[in-house]
């Protein structure tokens, strides 16, 4: 299950990280090193074992479906790279 250059290119695309073509071989080698080390997990017998997703032994709490904090667009927009008239400004999405 080795990671080749094509796989790194695909995963970088899925991750939305621009990785220049020339770094892909080195990156593939690094990720392979890490994944090979991870492969030892195959030795563990996990038949019939339930995956552990949370160590908190309580159900997720529920609350009333009401606004708690809100109504202050200026705080929400304070760190926006670009905003106009109370809105985020994003690059053109539809040509």
């Amino acid at each position: 299950m080795a990671i080749d250059v094509a796989t790194v290119r695909k995963v970088a695309r899925l991750s939305r990280i621009a990785e220049p073509e020339e770094v892909l071989p080195a990156l593939a080698e690094q990720l392979n090193g890490i994944m090979q080390w991870i492969e030892q997990l195959a030795e563990v017998d996990t038949d019939g074992v339930e995956p552990l997703t949370s160590v908190v032994n309580q159900g997720l709490p529920l609350r009333e479906d009401v606004v708690t904090e809100g109504g202050d667009a200026s705080r929400v927009l304070a760190n926006a790279p670009k905003s106009v008239g109370g809105f985020f400004v994003v690059p053109k999405v539809v040509e």
């Binding site: 939305r16 090193g33 890490i34 552990l52 997703t53 160590v55 760190n79």
Partner: protein
């Protein structure tokens, strides 16, 4: 008055209470120390005006008999905690200009109890690292040096700034976070005390997320008693974090100095790893001897899946990180880089904003969650996580707490492990099991290596049993009597 930065948090609070000095004096002493210690690169941002303002307000409160549990105590804050109006970078270029409009729950509780903020402490980028070298602000330098050497050593990571600042007297205590060992390993490397409480004790709200099922906040301090004091303010239920435990916060300080007679201490045989330095093994044995002398019974236990904890962690943590860090898309906050279309804007933003280690983990996380690999890697890792957690559950039938080394070595040189990610990951071999199982773990300074560098021991407790850890740690702290501080070479060089 000249040694206000040498006081423990407890002694400083006593001094404030008995009017030996004011919070403004205490805070100013720390600000001066910080200025002369910039060579350590422990602080990303110093906030002197805010600090003096908060200190003056504290002095007014104290004068009117209104002082909180930490009133007037100057603390450092890891730059992963959002602080209202004060830049919060997470050690990343991505957040270089991010100024939160809200305060993290943990820090707001510290201010509620009267503490003073000195500044924001350096860390590995997004808390991903074990040496502080992945920080966009550059590495922190350990205040400790090997005897007769001026080689720059790592303070550990990711809470390297927190640990270095506490060790060097640049704050009375610091907040930190721990996802795989990021409180305990730096504490061990700097001769300080650090505790990662039970998962859910401290609210994660307002802490920049790395791996949400593993991240926990905790304090780094110079003594066990100080850690208990600080954790008491940091912990507590918060409706804004759905995994925050709705339980009362025990009086952790009351456990310090309590008898540990009759407690059973487990020593896991699987922690005797190949290549562990003899002096760490000897220190571990010494630790058990101290606890025996205090009336504890030491039992050998088995945690058979220990060696699989790190590989499981390096699936679970990157998987969660790749999902958490998807929010950095350049649209709502953080860096935005130019691109000719939307996708390119995303890709360029993330390529420029993230450093190499963060990118590596996002790629691994995306890979193990991608179609065709999800079951083979991610689900497999969660099953191994269950087995590791089960190992602890069966250990608790034989013992009340577990004693291990904190890290497999003393502080290493900056650059020493930088080229091999897996070698760097192995730093967390003794700490990461605790995160996977959600248990409390405390590291305390237990001795010095032959080179004169601090070595730590780790105590692991049952869920919610931080109290026992504080009792055991205070016994060991007394026995170890590690009163040495690093020599302040950084002052001469500035």
């Amino acid at each position: 008055m000249s040694n206000l930065t040498d006081l423990t948090l407890k002694a400083a609070l006593d001094g404030l209470a008995s009017k030996q000095f004011t919070s403004v004096e205490l805070t100013q002493a720390h600000l001066t120390a910080m200025e002369s210690a910039r060579a350590l690169n422990a602080y990303i941002a110093e906030t002197p005006e805010k600090a003096l303002q908060m200190a003056a307000a504290s002095d007014v409160r104290r004068a009117s008999g209104d002082a909180g549990p930490l009133d007037g105590a100057p603390l450092g804050i890891k730059d992963l905690f959002c602080t209202e109006g004060v830049g919060t970078t997470a050690g990343s270029k991505m957040l270089a200009n991010f100024k939160p409009t809200y305060e993290s729950t943990v820090t707001s509780q510290l201010w509620r109890d009267g503490a003073v903020m000195l500044g924001k402490l350096n860390l590995d980028e997004f808390a991903m690292g074990s040496s502080n070298e992945s920080s966009a602000s550059g590495p922190v330098i350990n205040p400790w040096r090997a005897i007769g050497s001026d080689r720059k050593l790592t303070p550990g990571g990711s809470s390297g700034g927190s640990a270095a600042a506490v060790a060097a007297g640049l704050c009375l205590g610091a907040t930190a976070t721990d996802t795989g060992g990021s409180i305990r390993q730096p504490a061990a490397f700097t001769g300080t005390v650090g505790i990662k409480p039970t998962y859910g004790r401290c609210s994660r709200w307002g802490i920049v997320a790395f791996a949400s099922s593993l991240d926990q906040a905790g304090p780094i301090t110079r003594t066990v008693e100080d850690a208990a004091l600080m954790l008491g303010s940091m912990a507590g239920h918060d409706p804004k974090d759905s995994t925050s435990l709705d339980l009362p916060v025990p009086d952790f300080s009351a456990f310090v100095g309590k008898s540990v007679k009759g407690l059973r201490i487990g020593v896991p045989k699987e922690y005797r790893v190949d290549g562990m330095p003899v002096e760490i093994e000897a220190l571990w044995t010494q630790g058990t001897a101290w606890l025996k002398a205090a009336g504890c019974e030491v039992v050998e236990i088995s945690l058979p899946n220990t060696k699989y904890a790190l590989p499981a962690y390096y699936i679970v943590a990157p998987a969660e990180a790749s999902s958490n860090l998807a929010r950095y898309d350049g649209m709502r906050f953080g860096l935005r880089a130019a691109g000719s279309n939307l996708t390119e804007t995303y890709e360029n933003t993330r390529a420029q904003g993230f450093g190499d280690e963060v990118k590596r983990r996002i790629l691994i996380g995306t890979y193990v969650l991608s179609h065709g690999y999800y079951d083979a890697y991610y689900i497999k890792a969660l099953k191994v996580r269950r087995r590791i957690s089960d190992d602890f559950d069966s250990a608790w039938t034989q013992c009340d707490a577990i004693l291990t080394p904190t890290a497999p070595s003393a502080a290493f040189a900056l650059g020493e492990n930088a080229s091999d990610p897996v070698a760097m990951y192995l730093n967390d071999v003794f700490t990461v099991t605790v995160n996977l199982a959600g248990l409390p773990g405390l590291s305390l300074p237990a001795g010095l290596s032959s080179e004169g560098l601090p070595l730590g021991l780790q105590l692991i407790g049952k869920p919610l049993d931080e109290g026992t850890l504080f009792s055991l740690a205070s016994v060991m702290e007394k026995a170890a009597d590690v009163s040495q501080r690093p020599q302040s070479w950084w002052r001469a060089s500035s």
